[in-house]
């Protein structure tokens, strides 16, 4: 076990295309992402997180919102992955 707090992975370039990935095994329904960034994240019937646009790659103007959801996730369940 390590001493690091792994909150999120964002390996994307500032202007590059990227995809948002939610690890459904880690999501436990805190709801921070879809409360703070409903443009990117929505809740399902149990309160778990889903992507508002499904598998569509995120547009660059949503990068800050996507990142906000990722950094506020207590489970570190959200990653921004470059395409």
């Amino acid at each position: 076990m390590t001493d690091t707090t792994d909150t999120t992975t964002d390996t994307t370039e500032p202007d590059g295309p990227f995809r948002v990935v939610i690890d459904r095994d880690k999501c436990v329904g805190h709801g921070r992402c879809y409360s703070l960034a409903p443009e990117v994240y929505v809740d399902d019937e149990e309160g778990f997180s889903e992507l508002a646009d499904g598998d569509t790659p995120a547009t660059p103007e949503l990068r800050d919102k996507a990142r906000l959801g990722a950094v506020t996730c207590p489970e570190g369940a959200i990653s921004l992955v470059p395409l």
């Binding site: 076990m1 880690k26 805190h30 709801g31 019937e45 506020t72 207590p74 489970e75």
Partner: protein, 412 residues
């Protein structure tokens, strides 16, 4: 080696043996408001992990990353016992003390009932309850915030959400108080047992009446629970009674305690109160800060196996306290960690836990706290601690931290 609130430095031979600092710290003693938080701030800096000899002895994880790791490693840090001083409790709460796939089956029944979507539909009636209660207090000019408001409001909300009669509010308040007084405090165990029996009889009666004469499940939360399936089989009577008790206990005392600290801060920080009055749109973020800076739950886990956890030799069946009150003010995680800052960006905390046992009622609790901030300050914007009460007589105690009373006064 560490320092207790009384300034005693403790070192024992066990320190060397265990390889981690040892303290003897009793959470049930009443101390002036916020003293526990200050003590735990100091303990966290000296001892990220400590062994507390109090009760039967338990580990304390005091840094945010350690608490997160424990929450998120449930196969090692199990929920088979969740009160650090009670490694072998004579009760088994469902779903609190379930683990793994079994736990998931219970949560699948409960999660949809407390989802953000469902909770949002309740906001108008929660707001109405809140306004009614505040308006009944406005003309008084003084109040014990804890007894007269913080205990009553969440109970009214809970009874409404689970479709039980509002006239039972006082009965439920008393039962819940008695149970929490007894958790981890042996001197109050008898009152706790009596209250749990009272709750059991109440829900047994409900169950028998519902079975004899079922009502409309659309209008009865507990009716729906009785009709539900756990996995692929119908819920059993004992499960229904157990879960009813747990829902009641989990939803009431916690919101009360959080509200006490929220109002203590606002009564003693007029500049922050003024911001809530002037910029009510910051209420949601303010709630996150109150949750972070005064985390009240002292969750426990039981080791499912031997583990060397960051240098501390933990043994199977050892108890572990996840010291949220220390962790969420971790200076390595947050700037000015001990300060409440409504402008803090991207507030994260484990105040609702983490991992599979994430607080079921978290969305409801957030809503209740935000509505209280908004509606109270429209009607009673300016208030202060009652100057007739000495500051050191406003006290808190644990194991779940909370103020015993909070006397406030305002101009009428």
């Amino acid at each position: 080696m560490t320092t207790t609130p009384d300034g005693e430095v403790t070192t024992t031979s066990e320190e060397t043996a265990r390889g981690c600092p040892v303290i003897d710290f009793d959470f049930t003693v009443e101390r002036p408001a916020l003293e526990y938080f200050t003590f735990l701030d100091g303990l966290r800096e000296e001892a990220p992990i400590a062994w507390n000899t109090y009760g039967g002895g338990f580990w304390m994880l005091n840094r945010n990353a350690l608490v997160g790791e424990a929450f998120q490693t449930p196969e090692v840090f199990s929920s088979s016992a969740t009160v650090p001083t009670l490694p072998n409790p004579d009760y088994h709460f469902i779903p609190t003390m379930e683990n793994g796939a079994e736990h998931r089956k219970y949560r699948a029944v409960l999660n949809p009932q407390f989802s953000p979507k469902v909770v949002a539909t309740l906001e108008p009636s929660i707001r109405r309850d809140c306004i009614d209660l505040i308006e009944s207090l406005v003309e008084k000019g003084s109040v014990d915030l804890v007894a007269d408001f913080a205990m009553v409001f969440p109970t009214k909300v809970f009874l409404q959400i689970v479709d039980l009669p509002a006239e039972d509010t006082d009965t439920f308040v008393t039962w819940v108080e008695d149970v929490f007084a007894g958790l981890g405090n042996a001197a109050k165990a008898e009152g706790m047992a009596a209250a749990m029996e009272g709750i059991r009889v109440y829900f047994t009666t409900f169950m028998e009446e519902w079975r004899a004469n079922p009502g409309d499940p659309e209008t009865s939360f507990f009716g729906r629970l009785l009709n539900s399936n756990i996995g692929d089989r119908p819920i059993r009577d004992d499960e229904f009674l157990n879960m009813s008790l747990v829902l009641l206990l989990a939803g009431l005392d916690t919101v009360k305690s959080q509200m006490g600290y929220m109002f203590y801060h606002l009564a003693t920080h007029p500049e922050d109160r003024q911001r809530i009055i002037d910029e009510p749109e910051i209420a949601a973020n303010a709630v996150e800060e109150f949750l972070r800076a005064n985390a009240i739950v002292m969750d426990g886990r039981k080791l499912a196996q031997d583990v060397d956890f960051h240098g501390c030799p933990m043994k199977k069946d050892d108890m572990v306290m996840l010291t949220l009150a220390a962790a969420s003010r971790d200076t390595t995680e947050f700037d000015h960690a001990d300060q409440i800052d409504f402008d803090r960006k991207a507030v994260t905390h484990f105040s609702f836990g983490s991992g599979p046992h994430r607080c079921l009622g978290s969305h409801l609790a957030r809503l209740e706290l935000r509505v209280v901030l908004e509606e109270w300050h429209k009607r009673i914007p300016h208030y202060r601690l009652d100057p007739a009460v000495a500051r050191e007589d406003i006290v808190e105690s644990g194991p779940q931290l909370g103020l015993s009373s909070l006397p406030l006064v305002w101009e009428v």
